[in-house]
């Protein structure tokens, strides 16, 4: 749509601006403030410059949390994106069964995060959980509270359970927008199932898949509640991801300076990735309009 230039539109945006400034900019400035100061308690602060940033950049703790986080996000994406596309391709196109699938698939997305954690914490327990009990009964050694590999598997399966439907729903929406004529043309050309997917479906899903990948990346990068409820970051530090570590540092130990420096670097990484996301997305938007 052709947009007209009108500087008065600013007045319409003003309420949002004030509200978000209040709930985002002020807290963020507090964080910046802490990140460059040190304290001996009693609310007496003095300038510490970039000390905390240097400390955090060199800290073993942050490196390992970042490493775990990166592995987690990579594994999540590697499983959820192909699985989501696969599910979307198998979804019925219309009818009662299609609505039924949509409703059931959306259900996990609407469960409070800590309840998702609770569900899986119970589900995996050896004494009262269906999963844990069954695995034990068929002789597989599984205990997510003691074994870090089992803890990882539990957290990953939980996330796949929780969020694969998001990828599938987005891919499904992309598939729905492909006109029937494309498939008929492919049939006439006797295209194989794979080439229909590769040359018709995949290009048409490109836009939504990009959104799905980046949403999943962002949300897995700041995951907190679900693994915290299931494993509490343990055993040891095995499932302590960035957010869990940050909350431990800021609220548990009240190390304000390092936590603030940590927060800012964390936020900058997210900003950078969002920016890449936004740029690629708007480019695709423009291409589609032409």
């Amino acid at each position: 749509m052709e947009k007209t230039t009108n500087q008065k539109a600013w007045f319409l945006v003003l309420p949002v601006l004030i509200l978000v400034a209040f709930s985002a900019v002020i807290p963020l400035m507090t964080v910046v403030n802490y990140s460059v100061q040190d304290t001996f308690g009693n609310n007496v602060f003095f300038w510490a410059g970039l000390e905390w940033f240097e400390e955090m950049l060199a800290s073993e703790r942050m490196h390992s949390a970042l490493g775990r986080q990166a592995i987690f996000s990579a594994v999540i994406l590697a499983i959820e994106v192909p699985l989501g596309i696969f599910v979307a391709l198998n979804m019925p196109k219309r009818g009662f069964w299609a609505s039924f699938c949509l409703v059931v698939m959306a259900l996990p997305l609407l469960i409070p995060f800590n309840v998702v954690g609770t569900i899986w914490q119970i589900f995996g327990r050896l004494d009262i959980g269906l999963l844990g009990h069954t695995l034990e009964a068929i002789g597989i050694d599984y205990n997510y509270t003691n074994d870090s590999v089992d803890a990882w598997i539990t957290v990953i399966v939980m996330d796949v359970w929780h969020w694969t439907s998001l990828v599938a729903l987005l891919a499904y929406a992309g598939l729905q927008s492909i006109p029937e004529a494309y498939y008929q043309a492919a049939k006439i050309d006797q295209a194989s199932r794979w080439s229909v997917f590769r040359y018709i479906e995949l290009p048409k899903m490109q836009g939504v898949l990009l959104i799905a990948i980046l949403l999943r990346f962002m949300d897995s990068f700041m995951i907190y509640t679900e693994p915290f409820v299931v494993t509490g970051g343990g055993p040891g530090n095995a499932t302590t991801f960035l957010s869990i570590d940050l909350v431990k540092m800021a609220i548990g130990q009240f190390d304000l300076g390092p936590a603030a420096a940590f927060s800012i670097m964390y936020f900058l990484v997210i900003m950078l990735i969002s920016w890449v996301f936004y740029t690629v997305m708007t480019t695709i938007d423009k291409k589609e309009m032409v």
Binding site: W10, L89, Y224, S274
Partner: protein, 287 residues
């Protein structure tokens, strides 16, 4: 574009009535996937209908002695059911605030070019992507210092951090689909901007407002970190009540499961109405 495709599908499915799915590869894949999704939820429901002795004593796939005591405990004990009331209060407040500030802003983004519009739009997105863990402590200090700690409005305002950008993006997506000629015709007919917006424009994007409200409601409902940090007693959400009970009394699994089931219900109730827009909502209005 996909929007129209989806609505036509919905219309067709409505007229066709209930048809049994054919048994083939796709059907088996979907059945397995849906089973995978439903099993953990079934287990929670199953547990909520058992007594604690049965949960811990004998392993059973369905409740042998069906009991609703766990639900009764929650619905009669104020320390439990007030958690639901508190959650509902701040979630509704947040939805109302988010939608009412997002409506004019989304209109501006969908209709006009103005200085810094692209940057502003992007900046809003970064707030949706901001990790709540980064904001937990500063929010706690900010709201404590202005005397709003442990009030519903504090949580409602804090959740605006990610819900306002979400609402703006979703509404902008819907408003782009309304032709600009409608605005122009209304102005020629002598409508003022507020009158046009409320009388003509809002009914046109009613489904968009519904979807945006639904997503604000959901994202505020599922969030725990901020709502737990900002409350202690008076405005404690149900989710936080659950976590504290686990640590305090330890083993009341039946009540815990029942509380979990009750938190799933609001989403499950309205999901049917928004099923065709759910992808659009989760994709920030970009599908």
């Amino acid at each position: 574009m996909s929007d129209t495709a989806m609505t036509t599908t919905a219309a067709r499915s409505g007229s066709k009535g209930i048809a049994l799915p054919r048994i083939n590869g796709s059907f088996i894949v979907m059945t397995l996937y849906l089973l995978f999704l439903m099993l953990p939820i079934y287990w929670l429901v199953n547990m909520s209908l058992k007594t604690n002795q049965e949960i811990l004593g004998a392993f059973s796939l369905w409740p042998r002695n069906l009991t609703f005591d766990n639900y009764l405990t929650i619905l009669t004990d104020p320390s439990w059911y007030m958690g639901y009331v508190n959650s509902l209060i701040y979630v509704v407040m947040n939805t109302v605030i988010s939608i009412s500030v997002a409506l004019p802003a989304a209109y501006a983004f969908s209709r006009y070019n103005f200085m810094g519009d692209k940057h502003l739009f992007f900046w809003l997105l970064t707030n949706r992507m901001a990790p709540p863990a980064v904001f937990a402590l500063p929010f706690f200090q900010l709201y404590s210092s202005i005397g709003l700690f442990d009030t519903h409005i504090a949580v409602a305002l804090a959740h605006c951090l990610f819900n306002v950008p979400l609402a703006v993006w979703i509404l902008e997506g819907f408003m782009r689909g309304v032709p600009k000629e409608i605005d122009e015709t209304a102005y020629i007919d002598g409508y003022s901007f507020p009158k046009f917006f409320i009388k003509i424009f809002m009914p046109l994007i009613a489904s968009g407002i519904g979807v945006a409200a639904f997503f604000c409601f959901m994202f505020s409902w599922v969030e725990l970190l901020l709502s737990r940090t900002l409350t202690s007693v008076d405005a404690k959400p149900i989710a936080a009540t659950m976590t504290r009970t686990v640590s305090a009394s330890g083993l009341d699994w039946g009540v815990l499961a029942a509380a979990g089931v009750l938190t799933i219900i609001p989403g499950a109730l309205v999901i049917y109405f928004v099923r065709n827009y759910i992808a659009k909502g989760f994709a920030l209005g970009r599908v």
